[in-house]
Symmetry: D2
């Protein structure tokens, strides 16, 4: 169980079977950094082309197709105080006949106050003044190399993860990815200091970051879609367009989880989900949307251990 300090020197704007930058073992911890979505580092200098540049990939020893890569975000912290964001709703999240009313694109800048745990709007000047939101860092884009030799743009997402842009993917969360290639090949980047549901302006408050994560491995039992958990919920992530299909993926994966790991039959899983499920909208902006299907651990605690 080593702790690796890794400083990236190059980045990828696809998630694929790229040359690993580091070999790590199950149980290991990595402390590394990522540039922001525009390729800018902690000093604000652009060091690589934009488009959710990814740090990695990290090769996890022993990971084979069909395994589960356990990825836990132990700590996630912006590495600068200045964040940037878009300021116009995406055309696809408003009624088509309202698109004409949207203003022209323009940037906004935000300041992070680490002591206060807050993110504050610096400009433009609007009636919002210095709107202040709780600091809630998250990783927008991370995942493992997809199957079939594919290399897929960091604009989108799939069963391998990718640009899911779900605000729940921050410190303390554990994500379970299916492994498609030897070593799993973990990529990560695109931190946001804060983001609303859906990433409906097309960005969060974009920042460079330092991340401390651990990896582990579960042999076999790869899920069909990413799973995750935090202190309160277990959850699944469905990535697709339209939202209806993303929700189908996430819900189906949750039934598999309840059946395979909690010993429920599909009727019991249906009863539980019917009255107890929670959904969240990860993103409704990227080429693939993301829906999160959640079950409270408090409810699950009522199920006798298998």
């Amino acid at each position: 169980m080593h702790t690796h300090h890794f400083q990236p020197t190059h980045y990828h704007t696809t998630i694929g079977s790229h040359e690993p930058v580091l070999h790590i073992s199950p149980g290991d911890t990595v402390i590394t950094t990522a540039v922001d979505a525009a390729g800018c580092d902690a000093t604000g200098n652009q060091v690589t082309p934009p488009g959710n540049p990814q740090t990695g990939p990290f090769f996890v020893e022993g990971a084979e197709p069909g395994d589960v890569l356990v990825f836990r975000i132990e700590a996630l912290r912006p590495t600068r105080v200045a964040g940037f964001s878009a300021t116009v709703l995406a055309e696809n999240v408003v009624d088509p006949d309202a698109v004409r009313t949207l203003p022209e694109p323009q940037g906004s800048s935000w300041q992070i106050d680490f002591d206060a745990g807050a993110v504050q709007l610096a400009r433009p000047r609007t009636r919002l003044g210095h709107l202040t939101l709780p600091l809630a860092p998250m990783l927008g884009c991370f995942g493992v190399a997809p199957p079939r030799g594919q290399a897929i743009s960091t604009a989108t997402s799939g069963a391998y993860g990718g640009n899911m842009d779900y605000r729940g993917l921050g410190q303390g969360v554990t994500v379970y990815f299916p492994v498609f290639v030897p070593g799993a090949l973990l990529h990560l980047g695109d931190a946001h200091a804060v983001q609303g549901d859906g990433e409906i302006v097309g960005t969060g408050v974009e920042v460079s970051c330092e991340v401390r994560f651990t990896v582990d491995l579960i042999k076999g039992r790869a899920p069909s879609w990413p799973r995750g958990e935090n202190s309160e919920y277990i959850f699944t992530l469905g990535n697709a367009r339209p939202l209806d299909q993303a929700l189908q993926h996430a819900t189906t994966e949750m039934t598999r989880w309840l059946v395979d790991e909690y010993g429920l039959d599909l009727r019991a899983a249906s009863i539980l989900l019917g009255q107890g499920v929670r959904y969240e909208v990860g993103n409704v902006y990227d080429p693939a949307y993301t829906i999160v299907c959640k079950v409270p651990k408090k409810v699950l605690a009522q199920i006798p251990v298998v």
Copy 2:
């Protein structure tokens, strides 16, 4: 400001310009009852055909097309201890190729423990045992008469409300409906003792109920889609298929609210929503799905009063 006690003698399975059962005035309170979705009353006897039978309509004096009907659920309480629910996920919320794995339809029964504030699964017998969820009564289907002389099935929903099946529509919530016909013609029914997001088995825990509500009127300024608020959030309700369109309706309505009532321009509204919006899935089962777009009042409090 009278308090009316109204005991329904007949019900409607469309929302439309039916003969009013009671004339009430803005500011009035009504205490009434509704049968459950299957038409069963507090004694469990079926007293009217199934399909979300509606109590009402209530004619609100002075309500004219273009006005806003303010409907506040002051209290909502099941009138019996036995609730019923379906036990199989709707075919449209799982992956198409998983439909074949779903079990056959079968009912479940639940018992409400009012003292404990809980709803407990009575049968069928599964590994869930007597699964217990917090009692959280809500109204699945309510709204005002739609425009153009329409009478629309209580299976679906629209700008006039209807079968939105959003678990957030319970005690303490205020909903703002556009008025389409003189008197607004408020209908209500379809209580659930508890329901998960999306109503993904097609039902909540269905119960008859007693509801105490107040109405008020805001002249002119009818919204395009229902708006609402509770102690923590303002929210809008978009009803349509697919989810993508429901989300467009809800988001667009929220921008109108922020612009018209909070004095934001569309850029400020975009910034606020981009980093601060919350979405919920009302239902993803009925002919029209429901998405809820929410903004925390705590965030809105930062905007200077107009």
Copy 3:
């Protein structure tokens, strides 16, 4: 087998259980007229409010819920030479980020040349000059009263027909509707002299019309969605949003037709459709879209008679 001449004096902008204007018998022919979508008659005068006003309803003697109403358009002819149309693509048929480029709404006028069988653009003046298209009259909106006492806006459509806006529904076509109420209650209106697939500017070339139709009745065996046929194809009509769901309805209905009337099992129906099906886009503008699922009669002729 009578021929009725019926001159409407009032119209409906919902399809519902309205007072019948005429009682007719299976086998009868009716010659009647309809105003255009804007409520204008053959002289161009507006005689009723706009919104696809319907002539009827016609009560078909003997029609009971569960029966099939056979509606055949024997002849359909505009009753004036001037037609009108919109000139801007609907916002929902272009990419969301292209909406801003669309021009402002403006009308166009067209002239029908009955001798030439052509429809010619009169204005506005564009590089299209006097664009001339083949005259191809169709009925945009027609159907039978929906179930459950509903009255549904003529803007939309469903299993009962309605505003399907499919250019294939012209002279020589036979449509088979499920009957939901005694007498079926047939409504019709909204003629177009010509229309592209999808009705993507929101209108065809709108005209008043004279229509000669016959009705017949098949006891029992109501389809779930409208079916139809012309000289070359049998077809089914699915009405819903999004297109994906409309296509599911139409395809499923076609499998039922092939199974119930042609004696195929579902595998044979799948094989036939997989390599032989044709789809058309009826409308992609109205609240419910319409997809048409077609099978060539030439292919069906290969199936031995049941």
Copy 4:
């Protein structure tokens, strides 16, 4: 203007920036072969893993990002008489509650009669007997390397082409692709002897093939989505889920074509499309669906030459 004979020795199941197998020049003709979707060649032997294996890529000299690759299918002919197909409708093209009624997967075999120009069902034995359809060979999957270094599964499609499975893409058709990488890197495979609209059983009648194609280059002016033409129509191809978005892509691309190449303004383009457009469903099975937006050349001929 050379004619190259190229015999592939390996295949790709992604479309990407793979090592070119042949360098060709604008104006050149290539005669080559492709295995079927399952990787089987003209003798029926599987020579490469399944999944729409692609012949190529072909490097077109002079092609630079931003150019248009002109790809014309001069001749396309199955190289064996035996074709294979699935026999069950895809779960996603029927109503969700009809999925349970679908039969189990099973293959079918078909025989091509080149003299008769027909494709005949050999087995299974059903009421269809030896169902015979006109031979209509097409290429299901072909395109150019996508941007950003991506390598994308041949299961899906995008602006670069890919697995569009549109039955109109056969002999005599010309397709115009945007060029994303130097040399364009043309891939092709997945021939079908015949296919219905939508590829709704998930396959056409799958065959190995010989294809003769020519390439040409138009400098600059890359379209946003593939364009094409045959003797009767110009058309655009939109690839996305859901169908609604595919239709938006195709329609928007057609407006760009009409504006850029035919000198129409957007109002004139709208008028033309509103009354004259035709849509076809390419596929409604693959991860990205395909909609084709067509305009008859006969109609275009009325527009004065720019």
